[in-house]
């Protein structure tokens, strides 16, 4: 049965509820990826020379925690006119300081980016806290270059109490509403 038919069926509230939930999940599925790849964060490299380009790199969140999300945004511009370069290949590699073995490595692309003038990449931060070196390599029709910076990764903090609190409030509110509705027929009978 299609979602449209389910939504039209006024006599089956449970099915309608399920259909709305399915629709919400569908929306979530299509939009979550974009929301995850939102830019922002702290600038670690601001307009440094990388071969024939100038590169800016920022990392979100502002304080990266072990095992949690790690988002890189890279801007590549031509130094002579400061115009964005949109057809370069950008590679991000994370290694532990003093160890050349890559812990994380992957391309940053404009397809993954919300702002299509930038290159973005998402990773899960390394499990071990400490200092890591981030290498951003840019190659394009005019040549190639790289920039390096050190990224501190903090130990993972506990649970997000704000989110838990909000979910708790919603659940309590929903339960309250449900109980109120169940009590309603009895009250009418009085």
């Amino acid at each position: 049965m299609s979602i449209k038919v389910l939504l039209k069926n006024h006599h089956r509230p449970k099915r309608r509820l399920l259909a709305w939930l399915a629709l919400a999940l569908l929306l979530w599925g299509t939009a979550a990826r974009a929301a995850w790849a939102h830019g922002g964060g702290t600038v670690h490299i601001a307009g440094e020379v990388a071969g024939p380009y100038r590169v800016t790199v920022w990392v979100a969140p502002n304080e990266v925690e072990a095992g949690k999300k790690l988002h890189f945004t890279v801007a590549v511009v031509r130094p002579e006119n400061n115009q964005p370069v949109l057809d370069a290949q950008v590679m991000v590699q994370v290694t532990a300081v003093g160890d050349d073995t890559a812990v994380l490595s992957g391309p940053a692309t404009t397809q993954q980016a919300v702002n299509k003038l930038f290159y973005e990449a998402d990773f899960k931060a390394p499990q071990n806290p400490g200092e890591y070196q981030v290498q951003t390599r840019v190659s394009g029709s005019e040549g190639e270059g790289e920039v390096l910076f050190v990224l501190p990764i903090k130990p993972a903090s506990g649970s997000n109490f704000l989110v838990i609190g909000l979910i708790g409030l919603v659940v309590i509110g929903g339960l309250g509403l449900l109980l109120n509705q169940r009590r309603e027929p009895g009250r009418r009978a009085d």
Partner: protein
């Protein structure tokens, strides 16, 4: 098409939480509007000047939906995405959230219509909850009346609008999505409270402002808004360090960007309040027009013709 322009135009930030909230708000309003429309079908009196418009008037639905479209544009379109790179885009985003979307939503009188849009099972408990919370003697109504009284709302509005333009606050909002969302929510909520008094939308828990009072209230928003815009437009150095590290586009320097933003806040920003005041002035004049004529003996006496307005 220029590749940079193409990249800008394709930069949309689809956020599921915003889509769901807007879709829900739109669906509930449309349901309520259709419900009221059905109830009043064939019984609607033609509109007469001076009489309130019915809740199911078509323009209310259009206004509400256009308000939601402006919120969508402000929070998910390239205006939002580029606001991290161009200050003037950020300013346009704020104008949409503060001056355009709230009055469009509120003149649609959303609360009453949305109550009718709730499913039957929910309408009763929600309606009862509202009537309990907003009952004349309830403490919650007294609290809400106090914290949303015109003076408090004006003060909060000034604190929020000027406060978020403090360099530390603004840079924090640009560096953290969470703080940025808080900034937008506070702009929107305080503006909804501001326009609530101007539009007279329900629930009406305050003493109803007269038209003259509303005009003064609207105009009171201009000085703080204008002063912030002037400071930005005439500053000699970049105020927000965040934009100095971000690559520029279209050869717009940080200082030019800042000046454009200041001018946007100063002139179009103030214009919105002036337009609202003009609409209220036209209503005030219409009200005068509808007053019954003075009897001839009052205005046609020799004294009144020689010196109108001078009482004996």
């Amino acid at each position: 098409m220029d590749p940079i322009l193409k990249a800008v135009l394709t930069s949309w930030n689809w956020r599921v939480e915003i889509i769901l909230v807007l879709a829900l708000a739109g669906t509930v309003y449309i349901r309520g509007w259709r419900h009221l429309r059905r109830r009043t079908r064939g019984r609607q009196r033609p509109y007469r000047p001076g009489q309130p418009w019915p809740l199911s008037a078509t323009w209310r639905l259009v206004s509400y939906l256009v308000g939601l479209v402006f919120i969508t544009i402000a929070l998910m379109s390239p205006i939002d995405v580029m606001s991290g790179q161009l200050f003037f885009m950020h300013m346009v985003q704020h104008l949409l959230l503060i001056m355009i979307a709230p009055p469009l939503l509120l003149i649609a009188n959303p609360m009453a219509v949305m109550l009718w849009g709730l499913p039957d099972r929910l309408r009763r408990p929600v309606g009862q909850g509202f009537s309990r919370a907003l009952h004349r003697d309830s403490n919650s109504r007294k609290l809400l009346r106090t914290i949303t009284s015109p003076g408090v709302v004006w003060l909060l509005w000034v604190i929020v609008i000027v406060g978020w333009h403090d360099p530390d606050m603004y840079n924090a909002a640009l560096r953290s999505d969470f703080v940025h969302d808080i900034e937008h929510i506070s702009f929107f909520l305080v503006s909804m409270a501001y326009w609530w008094h101007v539009t007279g939308a329900g629930p009406r828990i305050h003493k109803q402002f007269g038209l003259l009072g509303r005009i003064i209230f609207v105009l009171a928003a201009i000085p703080p808004n204008m002063m912030t815009g002037v400071v930005l437009a005439f500053a000699e150095n970049p105020i927000y360090a965040y934009y100095m590290d971000i690559p520029r586009i279209w050869n717009i320097s940080v200082m030019t960007d800042q000046r454009i933003s200041g001018v946007i806040m100063w002139i179009p920003g103030s214009m919105m309040y002036i337009i609202a005041a003009l609409v209220l002035v036209s209503q005030l004049l219409g009200q005068e027009e509808r007053k019954p004529n003075l009897p001839e003996k009052v205005w046609a006496s020799d004294e009144a013709l020689l010196a109108p307005g001078l009482k004996k």
